[in-house]
Each structure stands twice: as structure tokens, then as C-alpha cells.
């Protein structure tokens, strides 16, 4: 005999289970391509070395630039390479698939499903991020730590906070790319907006250079924008640049952007689905 409580809980549990399965599917989908993962690890490691040497040259000329010493700057490089795929720092990702489904009209089928479009893709993308953090993040970071003197924390708590910051950064990254994906309802061809998204993500996440090195007001503004949540904040948490309430503030900054952008995605989704026109027969 099922109690009333069980009946009331069932839909909520089913929802959690559904999106949990979608996330697990995203994880497994990307774990299938082992050669691609190995290729990605190789490429991230090569870029890590190249960038690390340029940072050594720059910090040799300007020690303490941007508030980092050389070991911290090099840590920033390798954290950047480790998060490149999970947090989609170059802006590539699921949105191209979503755009293709919007262009072809397959999205109409997605909207019929008993699952929310945004939550579905969010679960899928976070599953992917989890795999890529393990599959593509750990090895480049370890190689970087062996080849260069990095400023990695000894405290387990800092690493946990770092992982939390990474998760929030991946959520912000998803929320931005979901908006980009939905733009296909109006543009149909997503190439242009994808490219602009990549450009902004690459520049404003700190992938090329830490945002603290950016000159004057440009640097201040860049650090307040959501892209800062993707790499700059997690790296600073790992480097212990925020302490006590500062850590909470940094995580709240990420969470606030995640909530705002996810809400914007939800609003745009409801506008877009009201104007779905299925192309073709």
C-alpha cells in the first residue's frame, strides 16, 4: 500500500531521476570517444606548455603582475587548460546541436516531450562537463604540476571550494550558451552568433590572460561580467586569493549570474516556443 506521502513525492522523485539519467547520458556519451579524449588531453597539454612559457617571459619582466607571482600565474594557465573543455571556455558546445534541431524543425518533437527543454540540455551539458573535468582536466593539470612550479593549495577544503566554483562556472557557461542556442529561432543559421559567442567567451573568461592583467576600467568591467565566473573566479578560489567571506562573495557572484542567465533563458524560451514555425513537411 502506498501512502499519500509517497504519491505526493513521486513526481518530484521522477523529475530528479529523469534529469539524473539525462546527465548520466551526457557523461557516458562523451566518455565513449576515447581517442578524441586522448587527443584533447594532448592538445590541452601542448597549449599549456606554450602559454606557460609566454607567462614565464611576461612575469620575468613584471613580477607580481595582476597580483600573481610566477607560480600563481602558471597555475592560472594550467587551470585554464583543465577547464577549457568542461567550462567550454572557447564557447563551443551543445548549442550547435540545439540550433540544428531548431533549423530542421526537430525541436518541435523536443517540445512535445514530457521534459523541459532547458532542464534537459542543462542536465546533459553538466553531465558532459563532469566527464570532461575528469577525462580532459586532470591529466593536463598533473603534467603542468610536474613540469612547472605551481601554487597549488594543500588544504582539502580549498579544493572542495574550487570544485564548487567550477560547477557554478559550468552552470553559467551553460546558461550563456543556451541563450546563444535559442537565438537560432530568429537567425536560423547560428554560425555568426556562435563565433561571436566564442570570441567573447575566450576574451572575457580570462583564457588568454587573467582578467586582473587587463588594463584599467576594461579589466574592472570584465571581472564583473558573467564570463569571469567561468575561469577567473574558480582559479582565484584555488589560488586562495579570496579568504573567509570573500570566498562566499565569489561563489555568490557566480550563483547570481547563473540564476539571472537561467531565468533569461527561460523567458527567451517561452517567447521562442510561442513562435515556433516548423520548416518543411
Amino acid at each position: 500500500m502506498r501512502g499519500i506521502g509517497a504519491l505526493r513525492d513521486a513526481p518530484a522523485m521522477q523529475t530528479v531521476r529523469l534529469y539524473g539519467l539525462v546527465a548520466a547520458g551526457g557523461f557516458r556519451r562523451f566518455s565513449t570517444y576515447r581517442a578524441a579524449t586522448a587527443a584533447g588531453v594532448f592538445t590541452n597539454t601542448v597549449f599549456g606548455f606554450i602559454l606557460a612559457y609566454t607567462f614565464v617571459a611576461l612575469w620575468h619582466e613584471r613580477p607580481q603582475l595582476g597580483g600573481y607571482d610566477q607560480a600563481q600565474a602558471l597555475t592560472f594557465v594550467w587551470v585554464g587548460q583543465a577547464l577549457l573543455a568542461p567550462a567550454a571556455l572557447l564557447g563551443f558546445g551543445f548549442q550547435e546541436e540545439l540550433q540544428e534541431r531548431i533549423r530542421s524543425g526537430d525541436v518541435a518533437v523536443d517540445l512535445y516531450r514530457p521534459a523541459d527543454l532547458q532542464l534537459w540540455w542543462c542536465a546533459h551539458d553538466l553531465g558532459r562537463a563532469a566527464f570532461q573535468l575528469l577525462g580532459r582536466g586532470v591529466v593536463p593539470m598533473a603534467v603542468g604540476a610536474l613540469a612547472f612550479e605551481l601554487a597549488l593549495p594543500a588544504a582539502a577544503g580549498t579544493w572542495l571550494l574550487f570544485l564548487l566554483a567550477v560547477a557554478l562556472g559550468c552552470l553559467v557557461s551553460f546558461a550563456i550558451r543556451y541563450l546563444v542556442g535559442l537565438a537560432a529561432f530568429w537567425l536560423l543559421d547560428g554560425q555568426g552568433i556562435n563565433l561571436l559567442n566564442s570570441l567573447v567567451a575566450m576574451l572575457l573568461s580570462g583564457t588568454l590572460l587573467p582578467l586582473t592583467v587587463f588594463p584599467g576600467a576594461f579589466g574592472d568591467i570584465a571581472q564583473a561580467l558573467p564570463w569571469a565566473a567561468m575561469l577567473q573566479v574558480p582559479a582565484d578560489v584555488l589560488l586562495g586569493r579570496h579568504t573567509g567571506a570573500g570566498v562566499a562573495g565569489a561563489l555568490a557572484f557566480q550563483a547570481a549570474w547563473a540564476v539571472a542567465l537561467l531565468a533569461a533563458g527561460r523567458a527567451l524560451q517561452s517567447v521562442a516556443t510561442r513562435r515556433v514555425v516548423v520548416q518543411g513537411g
Partner: protein, 271 residues
């Protein structure tokens, strides 16, 4: 020779078709070409920010680094425009559409290279050229002998040929590892990032590796060091500064061999 002519003709026809397709979405083309230009300009912005904090990097001035940047980026841009879509071959092998190409009366290499030809990649070429021209006006103290003047276009073209050979080797590699397209990014985009910076900032082992193993140093480092009147960090004999066209020819020959070997060993995945 007849085969080469047929290949070039087929390549031209397929490219023309894709250009017409691209122009069906004019606004999107304009946005993507501009986006491409800005995207590649982002790493130059990073270099500019570096030089806002320092006057020299590895002993090189901003204008000198800009010369390195402009030459290698233009070279990569040309190779990427003409052959960049070779990396789609892995996908074609996986989904079986590779077989279609084998029965068409145009060399497979030409078909793959022209497949989905992306005119928007002209953005990278333009951005590289802009930086290159700026660096040539900003450099002072360079002795513009006729040899040095000639060396600039020669290094850009030889560099493009070397990158083209890398793209081809990467595509040939995918006959064995169909999912590993990303490895070649280490040598193309990675090589581009590497050679944007002066060789003096990298470890000797790395410089040796890209001189003797994957000869990216010949894309621009060695000829550009000659133009700038600087010694190369490995102390190689002077004539290597002019060896880029020869190295490029050797790379293309090797790449052609790799491609043919890969294609000959191709086994269809079946239905």
C-alpha cells in the same frame, strides 16, 4: 600531371559551389567573416595587453613580435582557408560518406579539401596581413636589403605550405584514428601560437623539437630572425634562414606520401 589538373579543376568547381551556398546567407557570412577576423585578433589583443605592461618580451619589441605574429597567422590563415576542412575526413569515415567520394571522377584529396569550403576563413588571412603590414611600418632599425624584402613574402608562402602539409598529415592520421582530429590542432593552431612569440622565451628542447622534428621553426622564426638581424637561439648555420621553401617542399612531399598511404589502406566501415 593530368591528374593534378583534374584535381585542381574539381577543387575549383566544388569551392565555387560552396561559395555560392555561403552567399545564400549574406548576413551570416558577413558576421562569420568578421567574427573570424575578431576571433583571431583576440590573441593579438592578448599580446598587446602583455606589451602594455612591458617593453620587451624575451628581448623582442612589440613590433618584432608583431612581425612574427603577422607572418605565421597569414600562413596559417591561407592553409586553413584552402585545406582546413581536411579534418572533416574522420567524420566522413565514421558515417560512411567517404565511400561516395571514392567513386566520383575527382581526386579524393581535392573533394575533401574543398568540402564545405568556408570562405569566412578569409577573416584570419586578413587579420594576419593587417598585423604584418603594421609591423613592417612600425619596425625600425631593420636593414631592408633586397634579400630581406623578398624573404617576407617567401616565408609567408612557405609557411602556408608547411601548415598545409601538417593539415594533410593530420587528415592522413585520421585514417587510423578517426576520432583524433584534435591532435593536429596542437601543431596547426598550437604551432601558430608558438611561433607568434619569439623563440628566446621557450626551452631549448622545445625549439629543437619544432626545428628538427615538426619543422614549424621554418614557418617564420628562422627567416624572420634573419630579417630582424638576430641570431637564432640554436646557433644554426646562416643558410638555414633561407631554407624554408626547401623544407616546405620536403614537408609537402612527405604529407603526400602519408596521404596516399592512408588512402590506400582505407577500409570502408560497411553499411
Amino acid at each position: 600531371m593530368a591528374e593534378a589538373a583534374a584535381g585542381i579543376r574539381g577543387y575549383g568547381l566544388i569551392v565555387a559551389m560552396w561559395v555560392r551556398t555561403t552567399m545564400a546567407y549574406r548576413l551570416s557570412f558577413a558576421m562569420t567573416a568578421l567574427g573570424n577576423l575578431l576571433m583571431t585578433a583576440a590573441d593579438f589583443a592578448a599580446i598587446a595587453i602583455m606589451f602594455s605592461h612591458t617593453d620587451v618580451l624575451g628581448g623582442f619589441t612589440f613590433a618584432e613580435v608583431a612581425l612574427l605574429y603577422g607572418t605565421t597567422s597569414t600562413s596559417l590563415g591561407l592553409a586553413d582557408l584552402l585545406l582546413g576542412n581536411l579534418d572533416r575526413i574522420g567524420r566522413r569515415i565514421r558515417d560512411g560518406t567517404m565511400d561516395t567520394l571514392l567513386v566520383r571522377p575527382v581526386p579524393v584529396f581535392a573533394q575533401i579539401a574543398a568540402d564545405r569550403f568556408a570562405l569566412r576563413r578569409i577573416g584570419r588571412v586578413l587579420q594576419g596581413l593587417i598585423v604584418l603590414v603594421w609591423s613592417l611600418t612600425a619596425l625600425d632599425g631593420v636593414a631592408w636589403t633586397p634579400v630581406a624584402v623578398l624573404l617576407v613574402p617567401v616565408m609567408v608562402l612557405a609557411g602556408a605550405a608547411i601548415y598545409g602539409a601538417v593539415f594533410t598529415c593530420g587528415a592522413a592520421f585520421q585514417f587510423w584514428a578517426t576520432d583524433a582530429a584534435e591532435v593536429q590542432n596542437s601543431f596547426t593552431y598550437g604551432g601558430n601560437t608558438l611561433t607568434q612569440y619569439p623563440p628566446t622565451i621557450f626551452s631549448k628542447e622545445l625549439v629543437r623539437g619544432v626545428t628538427f622534428v615538426v619543422p614549424l621553426a621554418f614557418v617564420n622564426w628562422l627567416p624572420a630572425l634573419h630579417v630582424l638581424g638576430r641570431d637564432d637561439p640554436l646557433g644554426l648555420p646562416g643558410w638555414v634562414d633561407f631554407a624554408s621553401p626547401l623544407v616546405a617542399a620536403a614537408c609537402c612531399a612527405l604529407a603526400g606520401l602519408a596521404w596516399r598511404t592512408g588512402l590506400r589502406g582505407y577500409r570502408s566501415t560497411g553499411s
